[in-house]
Amino acid sequence: MAARAGTASPRGRPSASPARRRLKPLRTVVAWRGRAEWDQVMVGLYCGDSRLQQGALDRVSAWKSRYGSKMPLAVDCTAELIRCKVLDSSGRLKSHELILSYGLALVRFVNLITERKQKTVRLPLRQLAREVGIPVWVVDLRHELTHGKLPRLALCRKGCDVVLDWLRKMYWNRQLGNNLCEKDEDEKQEQEEVEANAELNSDAWVIQTPQHAACQKHKEFHEKVRDVLISYKNEQFRVMETVSKSRELWFDSSSEVDWILAQIKDLMQENRVAVAEALLSDGFLIPKMDCLKMLNIKYEANKEVWQFKIPPIFYCFWQPLLSGLLSRNFTQILIEKMFMELRECSDSSELRPQFLINWISELLTGIAKVNAGKKKQLCNKQESVKELFLHKVPLQWIRVTDSCLQAPCWATPHLLQMILTIMRPRLSRSSRKNLLYLASIYTEGGPPPLSSPGLSSDSSEQPIYTIESLQWRARQENQVKNQGQIVEKEENVPERDNGVEEVEEEEEEMVTETNPLEGLGHSGTMVAIAEKRAALQGSAWQITADEVRWKDFPLGKLPGQTDDPDGLMLDNYSMMSLLDQPVREEWKSLNTNSAELNIPVTGGLLWTQNDFYKIKSGLQLF
């Protein structure tokens, strides 16, 4: 009972997973070293030259050993069919023998491929075959082979070719995102038809369908939002052009803008997240270059030139829309979304991260102002109208902090500090301090550049402890144990300063010396290695003496080895047979006293009369 429960769960997995796997590629272990080997085998199997085919089959035999029982069915089936073709072309088999080999390979193919499609209720093979695009006559051929007369060789050959072609199209060409198709146009079309057909029918597709539909719906919705946003942009540009230079006019929201706003609010009711996504797609809150040009904004590549502010004109361009949209919930969503986007692009030096950072900063400033209650009621209308927020917006600050920390970039310390200042309830002073330090260490900018004096004053006096320091300490302790062999390293206390040079220097140091971890391993195990070496004196087994930085080489790869798929081929080897090992024939029955039989035959390969007698006496007739 429990066994059944145990095996049921992994079996459920393959069918449920494709939809998920689309989203996040899963790293799995396969039998080929790399792409090159896969390609080589595929080309080899299908090349038509039986010498090359044999080579590919030999490689597949090694795959089979690696995979054990997990060998992909399609590879197995292909190899079996190709083996028949190789046998056929060798001319060593007579037609009847060939029919038998082809027959078994074909039966196995049809059964194995369709069995995976079987559901709880047994379906006829023909139906299953139709679902995956196997021609019906191949199924009939299978029935004939198992239950009827043996078919003619020609039919078997034809079946084999058709099935191999099917495997190439359905498995080899599609697997590993393969584009290696050397076929002409109509064949391609045909293949697409087959594929579409197969996909529509396969159960994998059934699972994907709801998601696919949802995806489609999402796309349509996204388009709708975009349309509205574009109309907003056009309207703003129109206002700018007609009433030239008076950008204040943007604030007296026209009826047109009000209408657009209402539309977006409607859409927001349906899906806030999608609206936030659309706003952050290129061309809206994140402008394209041409948009900046139209607004006469000079783009500076220098990242800090804008001081975490959106260029005023651009700010004013979007302010009416944003102040209308930024409800409490939407603000939370938008800020989190911005951090998420920032995480995706924090490395690039383009407009996107810069605008994201500045927008976040603007939003936070706005929130800070409104939450602090500093909004001057009596101030002139224009001033108050420029604000993004009209009411207090209590956000879920812990979530905001989280998303900020998940999108580390050069500006993180600044943004984090803003968040920590605004957030209510506040974190404890020490946690704030520690978070800021950590953020600044992580982003390698040193202590927070713009931090308030209270938080950062004492940071300069203390060195910042990093993982390396801990490792260094561990190494020191180790060395003390080993009679302090290397003491001069003591100077290399990894103290980090603000400077970028320092960081680079340290990286260099790590490259030239050793990785701290590896160093640890070395000093700790040097003695052990020496002992092992001594113990192995005179043996074939040795400890690799070369100074190899093993950590750079994954398992299965040695220094100097290339990805050449032929790199592990052997040209010479010798075979050795063991004389006193039980040979299978002896084992026909447990009744033979093999303890006696297993005595090494001393007189060479020939049996003496005595041996012969022993063997005979061990034989049994059933």
């Binding site: 090694a62 995976r116 391993g521 087994w541 592990l568 050795m576 447990l590 009744n591």
Partner: protein, 623 residues
């Protein structure tokens, strides 16, 4: 707290007879200590332990002196002693079921843990109770027994202990049940008592006794009988074979039995015939070990190399039952039969599996067969001596068929029953066990357990004096020339020219064949048949240098054994995926790892084995 009040009078009664010692000598103090990895702790600083031990004993006895055992305050069961150590006070027959890991040392009195009685003279024991397996229960034993000084005394004590043991087992069941009931009533589940916090500080968490091992009546009876046979006056050395379907608790029973036996004997032999879930070795091995230490955890926590191991190379033996029996026979022939032998078998007891089991029983001729089976689920017929005698095995025949043809072959003094005379045929005693709690091992998929025991074995590669665990690819490998070791792929025919593609980055058995490996050339030496030979350990072929003709191998096998290795056997057991996938700090592609392989494409999956049975059953339902 109610529990304690209940428990207190019982303790008082126990203590009354012993007079002087206030609070009764029955109380036991246990020190689960050191949160860090127990294995490491075991290796480290025994000196410090002995220095502090005296202090602990003093500390523990101070509780008894002040009458705190039973405790003065209700609810005081565990006290935090120092960083990462805690002292636990258990009144007699009180049990603590827990998950987690710790090092256990008994300071006063005695406790029993999975059958093993831990007394104060025992050194610290590493204890593992992970969620993958049945939780362990720590149970205080009534009365402290001083370790016997000489042999005669030992024998008397053993017999005495055994007698009292029987009593204890019988008594032990009642409190178990009563206790679980009580705890459910009186123990608020959400409350995190101070005692829990103390236990958590050493790395264990208390859990309901229901999660612990439930010893059923039939189990008890079987264990009693076996202990009597092993420790009492009995002609011949008992050979106990344990069999039954998967997940009926064979391994747990074996552990319990071994631990119980170790209370009376210095050593017990254990033969592992379950190549899927071996107790002491990575999967795929048949092995014979002399067990001297109690087994207090699942297999992946005590990986070691027993003195006789043969690498079969697969986790199931359907494909080559002949070689399987060969291997079992070879290992069994190494058994000295001087101490009791416990034999574990596979959970494959249907169809051919049952026939193979009958072969196995004929081969090993056990004195006792423990057949585990669920009462409501008759997976196999009772393996009575008659049944084994008359029914045919997979490779052997039953008595009647074989009788006539054996005539005239007098010189066959085989391991099989002596032919002809029926009466002298070894008669085993069948002990039928109905485990009431068949959850052992069922919670975790067998593939994961395989990986865990391989990882547990590979743990020996880490040097104990470094705090950090180094990734495997960072370690310095051994190297050995192609022509110094013979090579054989066990269960697959691999084209010789492509054999290195199979060997590279694979799990290999490091074996020793009696022949010298002959080398005409400097190329690799491939064996033409699979040898049955001693396996000295396992390794990962870290790389194959075709130019210099060297294998690079990572292995924890000590050098003095490694120099004997002259044969590499490559089975169908794979390195755990996480080892390959999780390699950090590699630039570029990792060999054999891809994220492009798409399992949703037709034919990308593996052959499904049991599907047909399932379908057939479904069909029957329809019909």
């Amino acid at each position: 707290t109610g529990r304690w009040r209940r428990a207190a009078p019982r303790t008082g009664r126990g203590g009354a007879g012993r007079g002087a010692a206030p609070g009764g000598g029955g109380g036991s103090a246990v020190m689960p200590a050191r949160r860090s990895r127990p294995r490491r702790a075991l290796a480290r600083a025994p000196a410090r332990a002995s220095r502090t031990e005296a202090a602990w004993r003093e500390f523990a006895s101070s509780f008894t002196r002040t009458g705190m055992v039973p405790p003065a305050e209700p609810g005081l069961v565990a006290v935090e002693a120092a960083e990462g150590t805690a002292v636990l006070l258990l009144p007699p027959q009180q049990a603590l079921t827990f998950t987690g890991k710790c090092r256990l040392r008994c300071l006063y009195g005695a406790v029993r843990l999975l059958g093993f009685a831990v007394a104060s003279h025992h050194p610290g024991l590493p204890v593992f109770s992970p969620a993958t397996h049945c939780a362990l229960s720590l149970e205080a034993l009534p009365g402290a027994r001083p370790p016997a000084a000489d042999l005669r005394q030992l024998r008397a004590a053993a017999r005495g202990a055994m007698r009292s043991h029987r009593v204890r087992l019988r008594d032990g069941r009642v409190p178990f049940r009563g206790h679980s009931l009580l705890s459910r009533i009186f123990e608020p589940q959400s409350n995190f008592t101070p005692e829990d916090a103390v236990l958590a500080s050493v790395g264990i968490v208390k859990c309901s006794p229901d999660n612990g091992l439930q010893v059923s009546e039939s189990t008890c009876l079987a264990l009693e009988e076996l202990i009597q046979a092993c420790c009492g006056e009995y002609e011949g050395i008992p050979v106990v074979l344990v069999c039954g379907p998967k997940n009926t608790g064979k391994s747990t029973f074996n552990r319990y039995l071994i631990n119980l036996l170790l209370n009376h004997l210095p050593v017990v032999e254990y033969m592992e015939c379950d190549i899927g879930q071996a107790e002491f070795t990575p999967p795929g091995c048949v092995s014979l070990s002399s067990v001297t230490e109690p087994v207090l955890g699942p297999p992946y926590t005590h990986q070691q190399m027993p003195h006789k191991v043969v690498y079969y190379g697969q986790t199931s033996c359907e494909q080559d039952t002949e070689r399987y029996l060969d291997v079992v026979k070879y290992v069994f022939s190494c058994c000295k039969k001087e101490v009791p032998l416990v034999i574990n078998t596979m959970g494959w007891v249907k169809g051919d599996g049952l026939l193979l089991l009958i072969d196995l029983i004929r081969l090993l001729s056990p004195s006792h067969i423990v057949q585990m089976d669920l009462c409501d689920w008759e997976a196999m017929p009772p393996l009575t001596p008659d049944h084994v005698h008359f029914s045919a095995g997979l490779h052997t025949k039953g008595k009647q068929q074989s009788k006539c043809k054996q005539l005239g072959l007098g010189d066959l003094e085989s391991w099989k029953y002596p032919e002809g005379e029926d009466m002298s045929a070894p008669q085993h005693k069948l002990l039928y066990v109905n485990p009431e709690f068949p959850r052992a091992g069922a919670a975790v998929h067998s593939g994961i357990l395989h990986d865990m025991s391989i990882l547990g074995y590979l743990g020996h590669l880490q040097s104990p004096d470094i705090g950090a665990v180094l990734p495997l690819h960072c370690l310095v490998p051994y190297q050995v020339p192609f022509n110094a070791v013979a090579l054989r792929v066990i269960h697959t025919d691999v084209a010789p020219s492509n054999i290195m593609y199979a060997v590279n980055a694979s799990w290999v058995g490091l074996c020793c064949i009696p022949e010298e490996v002959r080398c005409q050339t400097d190329g690799p030496v491939l064996l033409t048949q699979t040898p049955i030979c001693d396996c000295l350990g396992f390794g990962i072929v870290r790389g194959v240098d075709v130019e210099k003709k060297l294998y690079h191998i990572l292995t924890p096998v000590p050098p003095e054994n490694l120099r004997l290795v002259n044969c590499l056997l490559l089975g169908n057991i794979a390195i755990p995926e996480c080892v390959l996938v999780g390699q950090q700090g590699i630039e570029g592609e990792i060999p054999y790892v891809t994220s492009d392989y798409n399992y949703s494409i037709v034919g990308s999956g593996k052959l499904r084995k049991n599907k047909q049975h399932l379908l057939k059953r479904k069909e029957c339902d329809y019909a």
